[in-house]
């Protein structure tokens, strides 16, 4: 960091208005939202460091996306399903997936529920309907649409939340998924976290559409572009889209514009392609700093109390890491399991691991 961080762009909301919109438990909710943001930051800070030390194999930080993840996690109901992309693990945690279990996944241990099968940041948390993701871009979009159709078939008032980035709007499954959802007016919310970069490709080179949200029009439903670094606006937009979908009003595309505050992943060097002032702009739109500044300014959670929350988050993450690092990797014989419901006999095994 060459210079002092620029001041965050202030969140404009009047606290009385937030209190009205959020009801009597507004301050509790506000604190909880900050706690989850702090946890996300503590995870990102520790994991990026551990990845550089070679203690985990890969990491894709969520820095810049926290307002979306916190709002989606807190607003979605138990019966809703999450079809995530790379940066939405916090949604699983907010919905009740244990941090310790997630960290076991990051270390690919024997206690990872997915048995160490995937790279870090690709967890599965079926107990909170957080669906297993691949690294393929966009495929989860049409899967979410299928789940939404199944929800309707079973008459469950649930919603499928499909998360993806700006790059995924160029994928086959973005088109197929939104098209299918539009034709059948299915209960899906499409959450496009537009962090303005698909690895090295700026969003202006991804699409010539005036906004990514405008693409929804081609599929016959509404698209909205929101400042994804403003927790209150994100809250309102996701809440509205979920309500609409749940009440039979069909899908919505939300383009949540954020700033990617880190490299694409631990394997990326953004100095090769990002403009020199990018980090400064990103930091001014840091959703956590913007929210923190608002909480302090209006006395909802002063900086000193925030520091305590951050310290707790850091301790929690460190304890989870310690436990995961003391856990052995999956046993070699597990390699042959879960390929099919029951293992096929030779010749498919290819030997004994």
């Amino acid at each position: 960091m060459s210079a002092a961080a620029p001041a965050p762009v202030p969140l404009p909301q009047d606290p009385a208005e937030v209190a009205r919109a959020w009801g009597p438990s507004a301050r509790d909710r506000a604190r909880r939202a900050f706690e989850w943001m702090a946890l996300s930051r503590a995870l990102d800070a520790r994991m990026q460091a551990l990845q550089r030390q070679g203690r985990i194999g890969f990491y894709g930080a969520a820095m810049g996306h926290e307002a979306i993840n916190v709002a989606a996690g807190l607003l979605s109901s138990r019966e809703d399903w999450i079809f995530p992309g790379l940066r939405e693990q916090l949604v699983a945690l907010v919905r009740g997936h244990a941090l310790g279990t997630y960290v076991q996944h990051l270390f690919a241990t024997a206690r990872d529920p997915a048995r160490g099968r995937q790279m870090p940041c690709h967890p599965t948390a079926a107990e909170v309907h957080y669906v297993s993701m691949s690294s393929v871009i966009g495929t989860q979009i049409s899967q979410a649409v299928g789940a939404a159709r199944a929800m309707r078939a079973r008459r469950v008032p649930a919603v499928a939340l499909a998360f993806f980035g700006d790059g995924a709007t160029s994928s086959n499954d973005f088109h197929a998924g939104l098209n299918f959802a539009g034709v059948d007016r299915l209960p899906v919310v499409f959450l496009c976290a537009n962090n303005q970069w698909a690895i090295s490709m700026p969003v202006e080179r991804q699409s010539a559409a005036p906004t990514l949200a405008s693409k929804a029009g081609a599929y016959g439903f509404d698209g909205k572009r929101i400042d994804g670094t403003d927790l209150f606006r994100v809250w309102q937009a996701i809440g509205g889209a979920l309500d609409l979908a749940r009440s039979g009003g069909g899908p919505t595309l939300l383009e949540l514009r954020v700033f990617r505050m880190t490299a694409h992943s631990s394997s990326d060097d953004p100095t090769r392609y990002q403009p020199t002032d990018w980090n400064e702009r990103a930091r001014a739109h840091d959703p956590v700093r913007r929210y923190s500044e608002w909480l302090d300014r209006h006395g909802w959670l002063p900086l000193a109390a925030q520091a305590e929350v951050e310290a707790t988050a850091d301790r929690t993450v460190r304890a989870a890491i310690e436990e995961a690092e003391a856990t052995p990797p999956p046993a070699p014989a597990t390699l042959l399991e879960d390929v099919f419901a029951a293992p096929l006999s030779d010749p498919y095994a290819g030997g004994t691991p």
Binding site: R117, T139, S142, D338, A341
Partner: protein, 325 residues
């Protein structure tokens, strides 16, 4: 028992499954009102309604992607791809997603989708209505691959596929959709996966085939019998899982093997079968293994009967193995 064609047996299989389980549904292009371009889904929409017989927009990745989402949620979708040649937009969903869900989630998200597709040549369909690319799917761990050759097996294997817990690629030999008619058991008739069928028993040479090549192999065996060569014809029925025991027992008896498929030869399923025989039945073999296959070219239009194996080519290969050792 009811006499019917292979495509009617597919239809009866779907009907039986849908009648027995409200979670079973059918989706694809033209499968509803039109009843499918080959009429495999005819009448289903009338009986089960448009929520269970879903006419989709024209997008194979959308069809398989939404089928996956339905299956994750607990439904049992049977997706139709109109021709196997058009499956490639869905290839990503099949090989990257469908095949890997159970494994990558540690068993938390099994994903049971049946993907049906008519395959193979012999209907003057040219490059894009004729291909036989089962090997792509056999090569992907996590997928089962079934290919019936008779009406009874079409129904029986399809019902097993729909009641299986794993994803199944179900390939239907469209060339013999209506060419063969046969007795099909009524009701919930199931043919277990991994059980090859000995179509013709014999002692001198084993001919392995599946799908539309089974009648071709059988015709060859009849011709060979007239020459005093006793050929055994084995219909593999499912390529994954493979009934290795039946295959090996046959070659241990005859000492000679001919593998027949209409797919291109290079890296075709015959290559795998030949490798298994070379590894596990080497000391029973009296002659080199022979393969009778399509050519390593795109599928042709005018020359499709040159491309496709016929009884004469199969008999010629079998004769050569008998003469060579």
């Amino acid at each position: 028992m009811t006499e019917m064609t292979l495509v009617q047996a597919v239809n009866r299989g779907l009907h039986e499954a849908m009648k027995g389980d409200p979670d079973v549904l059918v989706l694809g292009e033209d499968v509803g009102v039109d009843g499918g371009v080959f009429r495999a889904t005819e009448g289903l929409i009338k009986e089960f309604g448009p929520d269970r017989v879903i006419d989709t927009p024209l997008s194979e990745c959308g069809i398989v992607g939404t089928a996956i989402g339905m299956a994750l949620y607990g439904l049992k979708p049977v997706a139709e791809i109109q021709f196997l040649d058009f499956i490639y937009p869905a290839f990503d969903q099949i090989v990257s997603e469908l095949a890997k869900f159970r494994f990558r989630s540690g068993g938390q998200y099994p994903c049971h989708v049946v993907v049906r597709a008519p395959y193979g040549g012999g209907i003057k369909g040219g490059l894009y209505h004729s291909q036989s690319t089962e090997a792509y799917f056999c090569h992907t761990a996590g997928l089962k691959v079934a290919i019936p050759s008779t009406p009874a097996d079409a129904k029986g294997l399809l019902l097993s596929a729909i009641h299986d817990e794993d994803p199944v690629i179900f390939l239907e030999p469209k060339r013999i959709y209506r060419a063969v008619s046969g007795e099909v058991p009524d009701g919930d008739h199931r043919v277990p996966f991994g059980s090859a069928r000995t179509v013709v028993p014999g002692d001198d040479v084993s001919i392995f085939a599946y799908g539309a090549m089974v009648p071709v192999a059988t015709e060859a065996a009849e011709a060979l019998r007239g020459e005093g060569i006793s050929a055994e014809v084995v219909d593999l029925r499912t390529l994954v899982p493979l009934d290795e025991a039946t295959v090996l027992a046959s070659v241990e008896k005859t000492g000679r093997a001919v593998v027949v498929h209409e797919a291109a030869r290079f890296c075709g399923f015959g290559a795998e079968l030949s490798a298994i025989l070379a590894e596990k039945a080497f000391y029973s073999l009296k002659a080199p293994i022979a393969r009778v296959t399509g050519f390593d070219t795109p599928f042709p239009y005018a020359l499709e009967n040159v491309y496709l194996p016929n009884a004469a080519r199969v008999a010629h290969a079998a004769r050569a193995t008998v003469r060579s050792g």
